[in-house]
Subunit: 379 residues, 2 copies
Amino acid sequence: MPDTGRSVHAIPITLEAAHSSAQYEVLVGAGLLSGCAERLSRACPAHRYAIISDDRVQPLYASVLRENLAADGMQSDVFTFPAGEEHKTRATWAAVTDAMLAAGLGRDTAVVALGGGVVGDLAGFVAATYMRGLPVAQVPTTLLAMIDASVGGKTAVDTPAGKNLVGAFHQPAVVLADPTVLRTLPDEHFRSGLAEAVKHGAIADSDHLAWIAAATTSLLSGDSDALVELIVRSVQIKADFVSRDERETGPRKALNFGHTIGHAVEAVSGFRLLHGEAVAIGMAVEASIGEAIGVTRHGTAARLREILLHIGLPVAVPPELSREEILRSTRTDKKARAGRVEYALIEELGQAGAEGSWGYAVEDEVVRGVLGDGAPTSD
Amino acid sequence: MPDTGRSVHAIPITLEAAHSSAQYEVLVGAGLLSGCAERLSRACPAHRYAIISDDRVQPLYASVLRENLAADGMQSDVFTFPAGEEHKTRATWAAVTDAMLAAGLGRDTAVVALGGGVVGDLAGFVAATYMRGLPVAQVPTTLLAMIDASVGGKTAVDTPAGKNLVGAFHQPAVVLADPTVLRTLPDEHFRSGLAEAVKHGAIADSDHLAWIAAATTSLLSGDSDALVELIVRSVQIKADFVSRDERETGPRKALNFGHTIGHAVEAVSGFRLLHGEAVAIGMAVEASIGEAIGVTRHGTAARLREILLHIGLPVAVPPELSREEILRSTRTDKKARAGRVEYALIEELGQAGAEGSWGYAVEDEVVRGVLGDGAPTSD
C-alpha cells in the first residue's frame, strides 16, 4: 500500500459572492509543513514573509517553517503574541501591525498565519488591514482551524462587547494543513475539533458522520491516513457551503448549527468550555429544539448525543450555568437580526433545514423547556 | 435658464478588479443633503443608520440629515469624534466602534460618513470592519473629499509610523455630493481641494485644466453651476482611472502625480501644510523632475506653476523644510517597493506617463537638483 500520508490532497475553493470571486486551494498532506516553501511562493509570491504565531505554537513550528523558506531563498520574520482567546484583541492586532511596520515591511509582504483559530483570525485581520491588505497563507495547527476556521475567509478580533465583533472577510491565498502537527495538540483540543467535523456530517453528510463514529479510535491515536480523510471530507463540506455564499446571507447559515446555543454556553461559562465542547452541547440542545418545534425528525437528538458521547464530548449544559443567562446571551448574538434570535436547525442527520428557511425563529419558552431537560436550572 | 443647481448628476462608478466588481453612483447636486433620504434608503437599505461625523461638521449638517431621514421613517444615531487628522487613529476607530456596539447596532446597520476626508477614511474603516463589514454611504462636505477621497473605496487610519498605514478597500454604496455645503468651508480648504482637481486635469484632460483656470473666480465665489461642473468632471476623471484598476497596481498610479513629493513635504512640515497645498508643491516639483529626466515636455512645469499660483496655491517647498528630510521621507512612502522610490509623472498637461511605465524610478541626485532650485537648502 502506498504511503498516502506523503501525498498531498488539494481541495479547490471557489467563492462566488454578489460582487467578488476568489479561488484558492486547501492543501492537506502529512509532512506538508517541512516542504511548503515552493507551494507558498507560488500561491503568494512576496518580497518578504511575515510569520505570525502565538507563543505556544511558535516554539514548536516557526523554525521548521523559516528554515524551509530560507532554503528556497525566501526571507521571513516571525511575530509572536501571547496565546489565548483573551489576546485576540485590537491591542494585539495593533502591536503586531506596529512590529511589522517597525521591521520595514511594505506592500510586497505576505502574511503566514501559523497556529490555531485565534492566530488565523488575528493574523488574517492584520493581513486584511495592513496597508489596506496583504495576501495571507493560513497554516492551521489545530484540527478545529484545519477543518473550520481556515476555510471561508473570516478574520476578526474580539472587543469587550463580544467575540469577533470587529473583522473582515479576507480570503487566504492558500491553506496548508499538515496533520502531523496535530500530534502535539492536547487531547481535549483534538476532541473539540472533532465537534465541528460532526457538525459538518450532521448538516450535510450522514455517511461522513457514521465514518467519524467508526474511526474515532484511529483518529484519537493520530493515524495519518484517517486524519487526512477526516480533514479532506470536512473541508469539502465546509467549502461547498461557503462557495455558494461567501457573505453568509443564505445557505452558509447552516454552518451555524449548534452555534446559537454553543456561543451562549461558551460565553456564560466564561470560556472555560472549549469552543468545540460548547458546540457539541449546542448541537445536542438545538437538535432537541428542532424536534420540539417539529423541524427535526424524532430520534435525531438521541443519535447525535450518542456519537458525541462516544467521541468524549459533552452533550448537556453544565448544571452550574444559568439558563436565563444563556437565553439572554443568545439575544446578543451577531446572528440576531431585528431582535429575532435565529437557529440553524437540521431536518435529520446529514440534512440541514430547507433552503430559504435556514434561520428558524424559536420562542424563548421552547428553548427554556429544552434547556430545563438536561439538568436542573440554577435560577 | 433652468435652475441647474436643483438637478442631480449621477456618475456611475464601475470597478473591475481581478476578483471583484462593484457598482455605485456618485450623485452631485445642489440641495442634495436636505432631500437624500429616499436615495440613501434605495442605495443602502438598513434597519438603522449610523451617522459618523466630526465635531466641526456635526453641528452644521447632522441634524438636517437626521431630520431628513426621520421624515422618511428611517432611524439614525449620530457618532461624533474630534476633528483633525491627529484623531484619524486606531483609538478613535475603536471608540466609534464601541459606541455603535453599545447602541446595539447589528449587521443590519448602514454607516453614513458625513464630513471631509478624515471622516470618510475613518467612518469607512469603521464600516469595513464592524461585524466584518457594513455598507457605507459617503456624504463628503469638503471639495477634496467630493472629488477625491469619496471615490475609489480607500479607507484608512494613521499609525505613529505614518499616514493611512492601516485600512481596507471598502467601496461605498453611494456618494452624495452637495456643493452648497462648501459655502461653510474655509477658503484655504477650498483652494486645497482645487489642487486635486488641477491634478485630474494635469494627468488626463487639458481642457478641464484650462476651464479651472478660467473659472477660478466663479468657483471661489461659490457659484453653484460652476461647482457642479467642477465636481462632475473631476469625479469622472478619477472614476475612469479607478474603474480600470481598483487595487492600484496599474493605471491608477497616475493619480499619485504630485503625491510622492507632496506626502513628503506634508509630513516634514508636521502637517502644517494642508494636503492640497502639499500636492500643489508636489506637482510643481514633479513636473520639473519629469522635465529633468526627459519624461515631461519642456515648459509644462512653468505652465502648471502659473495655474496653481493663479488659484492661490503654493508651488515651492518652504525654505525652512530640510531637503534631505524630504528625500528620506519619500523613501518611507507606501509607494516605495523593494527600496525603489516611484514617481507618477506626466508627459505633458493632460497626459499621464505612458501605460506600463506609470512608476518612474528617479535618482536622489535629480530630486536634489530640482528641490535645490526652489529655495536655498536648509542643510
